[in-house]
C-alpha cells in the first residue's frame, strides 16, 4: 500500500552509537550537562558553598556594587549578599523542576499508556478529562490555591505538574497508539505476555525517546514557573529563591538595575541548559535536519557530482538549449545514462545507475523490477519531480529530441501535464484531502492553459465522464474521502490525461486496487492510450500486466537496467539471471507463464 522505499536520502541513517555518546559529542549538550551537574551539586551542598548565611544583614553593604566588597556579586536592598542568596535559592529551583516534571510525567505516562493501549471507554473518558484540564487557566488556579492557608512551593509545583500533565498524556497516548499495532507487539501478545508486561517493557521502551525530550523541557518550564510565582510575590517570603531575588531586584529597578542581572543569569542559564539538553536529546534520538539554502545545496551537489550535475539537478535558464547535443532522435522519450543519487555521509548513494531506455510514440513499455530497483526514481527524474535532496548526477532525458534535464522548474512545469503526465500508485494519498476532486482537476487545467473557470469545469466534467465515472457532477463536488479507491484512481487518470499528453508515466496504477477493479482500470488506460496515441511507460511488478498490454519491457534491478527488449523476446529468451528468476516466480496460469517453468507443474502458493 505504501510508496516504494526508493529514496534512501529521506531516511535518517543513525549510526549505532549510544545516545549518551552522541549527546556528549555535541558541545552544546555537553556544556549543558556539565552546567546542570554543577547546579545540582550547588543545590545539595549549598550551605558549605555559600560565603555567608543568606539572611545575614550588613546595613553598610546595602546595594553595594559587585566586585568591590566582601559581597562578591553585590548587596541587595536589605544589605544581604546576593551571591549567597542565589546559592541558597538553587535548592528550591531544582526541587520545583524535579517535582513538577515527575508529577506531570507520572500522571501523563500512566494514563497515556492505558488510554493508548487499551482504548475504548477509558480512552474516551481520559481524553475528555485531560481536555478539560487543558482549558483550565493554570496560573489563576494556583492563585486560588494560594489563598488557602500555607501552600508550600512543593505543593504548588505538584499542582502545576497536574496542570501540565495533558501535554504528556497526549504525547504518550499518540505514541502508544502508533506502537500498539506494530507487529512485535502483536507477537508479544501471541506469545502470551501479560498486558502489563507488554506495556511496561515493549511499549514504554519504544516510546521513551520523545518522553525524555519532553522531560527536559518540562523541568525548564517548572523552574521558570516557580520563579515566576515567587516573582509575583507568591511563595514563602522567608526562604530565598531565584524568583524572590528577582522580585527584590525589580523593586530596586531605578536604584540599582544591575541587581536584575544575577538572578536573571542564574535562571536564564539554567533554562537555556535544559532547553539545549532537550534539543540535544532530540537531535541524538531523532536526528536533526536543517534545510540547506539553495547556495549550500548547490555547493554540495558540485562537490558530490560536479558542476554539470548542478545544472541537471536544479535547472538553469537557457541550459537546455546549450545542452541540446544530438536532436536527431526519433524516439518520443529517450533516457540515456541517467544517474540519480542521494547524498549520504559525504558520498553519493546511487539509486538510478546508468539507466537508458526509450519509449516511442504510441508504444507501451513495461518497466519492471522489485521494490527499490529505481523504477519510480527514474520516472520522477524524467518529470523533474525528484525530492529536494536528490541529485541528478549524469545523463539526459529527451522528449521529442529536446533535453528536459536542466530546465528551470517553471519551464519544466510547462512541459508537465501538457506533454508529460503521471498516474501515481496510491490513489488516496495523491489527492489533497482538503480540496474537492473538481477543484484539484481544475487547478491542473488552469495551470496548463489560460482557461476560464467555467471552461475548466466543463473540461473536468467531460473528462470524469470519459474515464467512466457514472455521476461526474457528484464526484466533481466530492472530497477525496467521499469516493472509493477505484474511483479515486479514475480521477487521477482523468487528471493525468486531461492535457492530452504525448507521454504518460503510470507508476503501478493498479497495485493498490481491488482485483476486480484492476482489469477495468488497465482497460481504461489502454483505451485512452490508443485514443490519444500516447506513449506509455508502465511501471509495474506484475508480469501478467506486462504480457497483457506492453509492446516492450525494461527490467531493472538495484538501479540498473539488466535487460530490455520486446515482450516476446524477453519472456521467451530471458538472458539475465534476474529476469529468469522473475519469470520463474510467476506462479499462476496467466499469459505470463514462461516456458521455463520447471517440471512438476505450477506451485500452488
Amino acid at each position: 500500500m505504501t510508496h516504494e522505499l526508493e529514496a534512501p536520502g529521506e531516511q535518517v541513517v543513525i549510526a549505532r552509537k549510544s545516545v549518551w555518546r552522541r549527546l556528549l559529542h555535541n558541545p552544546l549538550s555537553a556544556a549543558a550537562i556539565v552546567y546542570l551537574a554543577i547546579v545540582v551539586l550547588v543545590a545539595v551542598f549549598q550551605s558549605w558553598i555559600a560565603p555567608f548565611p543568606p539572611e545575614r544583614v550588613v546595613p553598610t553593604l546595602t546595594n553595594v556594587s559587585p566586585f568591590g566588597s566582601e559581597y562578591f556579586l553585590g548587596g541587595d536592598r536589605a544589605g544581604r549578599d546576593i551571591l549567597s542568596r542565589i546559592i541558597a535559592g538553587t535548592r528550591g529551583g531544582v526541587l520545583s523542576g524535579i517535582i513538577m516534571a515527575s508529577v506531570a510525567l507520572s500522571i501523563g505516562i500512566v494514563f497515556g499508556l492505558i488510554a493508548g493501549y487499551f482504548g475504548k471507554v477509558f480512552d474516551n473518558v481520559a481524553n475528555w478529562v485531560f481536555s478539560v484540564l487543558l482549558a483550565a487557566p493554570g496560573i489563576i488556579i494556583l492563585l486560588a490555591l494560594y489563598t488557602l492557608v500555607d501552600v508550600s512551593m512543593p505543593v504548588a509545583m505538584a499542582v502545576l505538574g497536574v496542570i501540565a500533565s495533558p501535554g504528556v498524556f497526549y504525547l504518550v497516548r499518540t505514541l502508544t497508539l502508533n506502537v500498539r499495532n506494530e507487529l512485535y507487539v502483536d507477537a508479544a501478545r501471541v506469545a502470551g505476555l501479560s498486558n502489563v508486561r507488554i506495556v511496561g517493557r515493549h511499549v514504554l521502551l519504544a516510546i521513551k525517546g520523545p518522553i525524555i525530550i519532553l522531560a527536559a523541557f518540562l523541568c525548564g518550564g517548572a523552574i521558570s514557573a516557580s520563579a515566576g510565582l515567587e516573582f509575583i510575590g507568591l511563595g514563602n517570603p522567608a526562604e530565598p529563591s531565584w524568583g524572590s531575588i528577582l522580585n527584590d531586584a525589580f523593586a530596586n529597578l531605578f536604584i540599582a538595575p544591575w541587581q536584575l542581572i544575577w538572578p536573571g543569569l542564574a535562571l536564564g542559564l539554567t533554562m537555556a541548559a535544559l532547553v539545549l539538553l532537550g534539543n540535544g536529546l532530540r537531535d541524538a534520538i531523532e536526528g536533526s535536519f536543517i534545510k540547506p539554502s539553495l547556495r549550500t545545496w548547490r555547493a554540495e551537489v558540485t562537490g558530490l557530482a560536479g558542476a554539470a550535475a548542478v545544472v541537471r539537478t536544479l535547472g538553469v535558464r537557457g541550459a537546455s538549449k546549450a545542452q541540446a547535443g544530438s536532436p536527431e532522435t526519433s524516439h518520443l522519450l529517450q533516457i540515456e545514462w541517467l544517474q540519480v543519487g542521494y547524498p549520504n555521509g559525504g558520498k553519493l548513494n546511487p539509486v538510478v545507475d546508468d539507466v537508458s531506455l526509450t519509449v516511442d510514440k504510441g508504444e507501451i513499455v513495461g518497466l519492471v523490477g522489485e521494490s527499490g530497483s529505481g523504477k519510480t526514481q527514474t520516472v520522477f527524474a524524467a518529470m523533474g519531480l525528484l525530492p529536494d535532496n536528490a541529485v541528478v548526477a549524469a545523463g539526459s532525458v529527451r522528449l521529442d529530441g529536446a533535453e528536459l534535464l536542466g530546465l528551470p522548474d517553471d519551464e519544466f512545469a510547462q512541459v508537465r501535464g501538457s506533454r508529460l503526465a503521471y498516474i501515481p500508485q496510491e490513489p488516496m494519498s495523491n489527492l489533497d484531502p482538503a480540496f474537492t476532486v473538481g477543484s484539484q482537476l481544475m487547478e491542473g487545467i488552469r495551470a496548463q492553459s489560460s482557461t476560464s473557470r467555467a471552461e475548466a469545469k466543463r473540461l473536468a466534467l467531460a473528462m470524469l465522464a470519459r474515464v467512466g465515472i457514472v455521476d461526474p457532477a457528484r464526484t466533481f463536488k466530492s472530497y477525496p474521502h467521499e469516493i472509493s479507491g477505484g474511483m479515486a484512481q479514475r480521477v487521477l487518470i482523468a487528471g493525468a490525461v486531461m492535457g492530452k499528453p504525448h507521454l504518460l508515466f503510470a507508476d503501478e496504477p493498479t497495485t493498490a486496487l481491488d482485483v476486480t477493479v484492476q482489469a477495468e482500470v488497465l482497460d481504461l488506460l489502454r483505451d485512452l492510450q490508443r485514443e490519444y496515441g500516447m506513449g506509455l511507460l508502465l511501471v509495474t511488478h506484475n508480469l501478467g500486466v506486462v504480457a497483457a498490454v506492453c509492446d516492450r519491457v525494461v527490467v531493472m534491478r538495484l538501479g540498473q537496467v539488466v535487460e530490455q527488449g520486446t515482450v516476446r523476446e524477453v519472456f521467451s529468451h530471458p538472458r539475465h539471471e534476474y529476469t529468469k528468476m522473475l519469470l520463474d516466480s510467476v506462479l499462476d496460469h496467466t499469459e505470463a507463464r514462461s516456458p521455463l517453468t520447471e517440471e512438476g507443474g505450477p506451485s500452488d502458493d
Binding site: A135, P137, I140, G228, P257, G264, R295
Partner: protein
Amino acid sequence: MLVYTIRKLLTGAVVFVSVTALTFFLLFARGGYEIARSFLSDTATPEQINARAEQLGLLRPIPAQYWDWLVELVTGASLGRSYLTNAPVVDVLMNRSPVTISLLVVSLVLTIAMGIPLGVVAATRGGLVDRGLQIFSVTVQAIPNYGLGLILVLVFALGLHLLPATGFVPLSRGFGPWLATIILPSLAIALGSIAFVGAQIRGAMLDLMRQDFVRTLRSRGVSRRSTVFKHALRSAAPPTLTILSLQVIQIVGGSVIVERIYALPGLGSIALSAGNSGDLPVVLGVVAWIVVIIVAVNLIVDVLNGFLNPKARVR
C-alpha cells in the same frame, strides 16, 4: 455543521462547569469562618466573623453554594459582589478586561503575523533563516516571559526612552498611545509563541511538501509556489489553529506576570490582589471569565477547523 457547532458548544459548557466547580471547591474548601476572617479586619470578634459568614451564606455545604453561584450566573447574569468593596464582580471584570484582552489580541496578532511567515520561509528557503529560527527558538525558550518583559523594559523604556515603562491607555484615547503602552508587554508574551508557532509551521510545511498529492499536482503543471501557498499552507492550517488555541491559554497565564512588571490594571493583577486579600468572588469571577474566553477561542478554532477540514465536519 450546525450539529457540529452545537456539540462543541455543549462541550464548552461542560468544561466551564467543571473548571469553575473545581476552582470553587479549592477556594471555599477551608470553611466560611476562615474565609470571613481573612477579609475582615483583625479587630473583628468571632461573633462578627460568624455573622458575616452566615450573612454571605458561607456556612452552607459547598455544593449548595456552588449551585447558587451557577444559578445566579445563568438567571441573573451576575457573579456576585466583592467582599471588600461590595461592587458587582461583573463590573470589576468589565473594568479590568480591556487591558488583558488588548494583551491577548496584540500578542495573538504578533504571533500570527510573525510566527507563520517565519515558519513558511524557514521551510521553503532553508539555510540561514532555518538556522536562525532554531537559534531564536532556543533563546526565547530559555528566557521566561517575565525575563523578556524585564529585558524589554530595560532596553526600550529605561534605556532608549522610546516607550513608556508602565501604565495603560485605553483604545478609546487613540490607537497610537494605546499601542505604545501595550506593545512591549505583548511582545514579552508573544516572543515565545512566535518561536513555537514558527517551528511548528516549519515542521508541518516540510512534512506537507513531501506529500504525494503535492507531487501529483505538480505533475499536472501546477507551479511549486502554488502548491506551497495553496495546498501546503491550507493543510498546515488546522494544526496551526490548534497550536494557536493552546497559545491563548499560555498568553492568558503569562499576562498575570507581565501585567505586574508593566503595572497594567488587568485581570491578572486584580486576581492577584483579590487572592491576597481573600476576596474570593472576584478571584472566582476572573477564573470564570478567563475560562469563557478560552472556551470561546477553542470553539472558534473548532468551527474554523470544521470548515478547513472536510472530514471533521462529518463526524
